[in-house]
């Protein structure tokens, strides 16, 4: 990792993460992500991809090494709201309606309800939930809850969007639709996205780079560059090009699995 690109938004240098019980979750991870990239962390469960994402968000500390996000150490400095985070579950507040759930990040920044309303209306329209401001999470389907969660992550106009296996609990039809929505939001909002997934096809469909991770200990095995997913439609899912990339990534993934099993 000699010459870093100047516009590196995220710079991960020799990061280790060891949990209190001695588990090595991440071993010597180094990675650079530039502005505007769509990067997938792909790997089997237990490979530390969610841990890596949490460390980049500053939600977990690093045991060794450094992570810089937008020129600041992860979790320190930088503006609140620069990072949007979407969890595997929608993680909405069940006692608050859709509007208030999306309002939360702005409310925590001290923005008044009145000042926040235009932005909330806008971002809810972007995810197709204009008619559901007053609905409670329990009244929504899994896919809609996930849209609320995405709207909440976007409401602060973040530079960086971190998605932690966001669609793993959803059915395939809903997942395909949300895949396209996320790609559209990525283009429209000039986002940099890190997308954690254990689906080869999801990572190939969406990302411009797949970071392949292996388990026990969690580490980066290989990075695979792919064409940028600009203006992509569902037809791509059945194209020969898609199949070719999927094969490349699958084979790489298989190699990591055999490495683990010796």
């Amino acid at each position: 990792m000699a010459a870093q690109p100047v516009d590196a938004l995220i710079d991960v240098r020799n990061v280790h993460k060891i949990f209190g019980n001695g588990t090595v979750a991440i071993k010597d991870m180094s990675l650079t992500i530039s502005e505007g990239e769509f990067v997938s962390f792909l790997g089997p469960s237990g490979c530390g991809k969610s841990t890596a994402l949490k460390m980049i968000a500053g939600l977990l500390s690093v045991s060794a090494g450094e992570i810089d996000v937008n020129g600041h150490p992860a979790g320190q400095g930088g503006e609140t709201g620069d990072i949007g985070y979407v969890f595997q579950d929608a993680t909405l507040m069940p006692w608050a309606n859709v509007f208030d759930n999306v309002f939360l990040p702005l409310r925590l920044q001290g923005v008044s309800r009145r000042d926040a309303t235009p932005r909330i209306t806008e971002v809810l329209a972007q995810v197709g939930l204009s008619k559901f401001h007053k609905s409670y999470p329990r009244e929504l389907s899994g896919g809609m809850k996930m849209r609320v969660s995405i709207a909440r992550a976007l409401v602060t106009n973040p530079k960086l969007l971190l998605l932690d296996e966001p669609f793993a609990a959803l059915d395939e039809i809903t997942r395909f639709k949300l895949n396209n929505d996320v790609l559209r939001l990525w283009e429209e909002n000039n986002l940099t996205v890190i997308f954690v997934t254990h689906s080869v096809f999801e990572s190939v469909y969406m990302s411009s780079r797949v970071v392949l991770m292996g388990a026990r200990p969690g580490r980066v095995i290989e990075e695979i560059e792919l064409p940028r997913a600009v203006g992509r439609t569902d037809e791509y899912r059945t194209s020969a090009e898609f199949g070719e990339h999927a094969r490349t990534v699958t084979q790489a993934l298989e190699r990591t699995m055999t490495n683990v099993d010796h």
Binding site: Y85, P94, W95, L104, F132, P137, T156, E188
Partner: protein, 284 residues
């Protein structure tokens, strides 16, 4: 910026008409069935007492109890007011103490570890055993009774508040960290709402316990003679063999307990009704 269309699969879940009707019928039955059973039981009681000519100093008929209640009404109501005051004040103090200490426990493990044993000791020692001591040490009988009732009602609120605050969703906690929420914001927007269902459950239990504590403490204090709560009226009637009056006072205690239960249940529904069933619903 473009927007996207919502497809059918994304419309909110609604109950259909027959389901609604069934729910409504269930709700009616919830009122009719217990009331009907109660009326039948009372009538049966009246009939058996009359038919077997049971003397009123053994088991008075419901009609006699009601008559006694009417005749003794003013003096019994005065006693009832004393018990109501005692119960509600102890419950209020239990809520304040339980919630404040619960928050402190939930925020600091050290405080919890050092103080929790005291709370447990207070809880597991039967109040009947502590009450005589409290009555000796505290001058005012009312304050002594209040302390006894408070000890009984306090624990469930404390323990449930702690559990409730701890139960706040971990991902939501992360969410609040991500946006650098202040401790106050975290408390107000995350911890308090998360703890509310647990607190409400505790309140229902504590309401009943406050009444039990008040009655038990009064029984113990009974010989002191200065207090005029319902429990001491029951004792007094028992000494004088006025069984109908005992039943009348007992009826008032029960009614008070029911009123507290209904009030706390209503409050719980009011606060949680909108969202809390959602807890068990999972993604499709």
């Amino acid at each position: 910026m473009s927007t996207i269309e919502i497809h059918d699969e994304d419309t909110p879940v609604m109950m259909n008409a027959s389901q609604l009707q069934r729910e409504r019928r269930d709700k009616r039955m919830q009122v009719i069935m217990p009331l009907g059973a109660l009326v039948i039981a009372v009538l049966l009681w009246e009939f058996l007492v009359w038919y077997n000519e049971v003397p009123h100093y053994l088991i008075p008929a419901p009609s006699l109890i009601l008559k006694t209640l009417w005749v003794e009404g003013p003096s019994l109501l005065g006693s009832a007011w004393f018990t109501v005051k005692l119960t509600l004040m102890s419950l209020a103090l239990a809520m304040i103490g339980g919630v404040l200490l619960g928050m402190l426990f939930a925020l600091s493990r050290t405080v919890e570890m050092s103080l929790f044993p005291f709370a447990v000791i207070l809880q597991v020692t039967p109040i009947v055993a502590i009450a005589p001591l409290i009555l000796i040490y505290v001058d005012s009988t009312f304050s002594a009774l209040l302390i006894c009732a408070w000890i009984v009602a306090f624990f469930p609120i404390l323990s449930n508040t702690v559990i409730g605050i701890r139960s706040a969703d971990h991902n939501l906690r992360d969410m609040f960290s991500l946006y650098h929420a202040t401790p106050w914001q975290r408390l107000r927007f995350l911890l308090v709402p998360s703890a509310l269902p647990y607190f409400m459950a505790a309140l229902k239990i504590a309401g009943g316990l406050a009444l039990i504590g008040a009655v038990v403490a009064e029984f113990v204090a009974g010989s002191a003679g200065q207090n005029t709560g319902l429990a001491s009226r029951i004792l007094e009637s028992s000494f004088r063999n006025e069984i109908p009056k005992m039943f009348a006072a007992l009826l008032l205690v029960s009614l008070l307990g029911i009123a507290i239960f209904l009030a706390t249940s209503f409050l719980s529904k009011l606060v949680l009704g909108k969202w809390h069933e959602s807890e068990i619903k999972r993604e499709r």
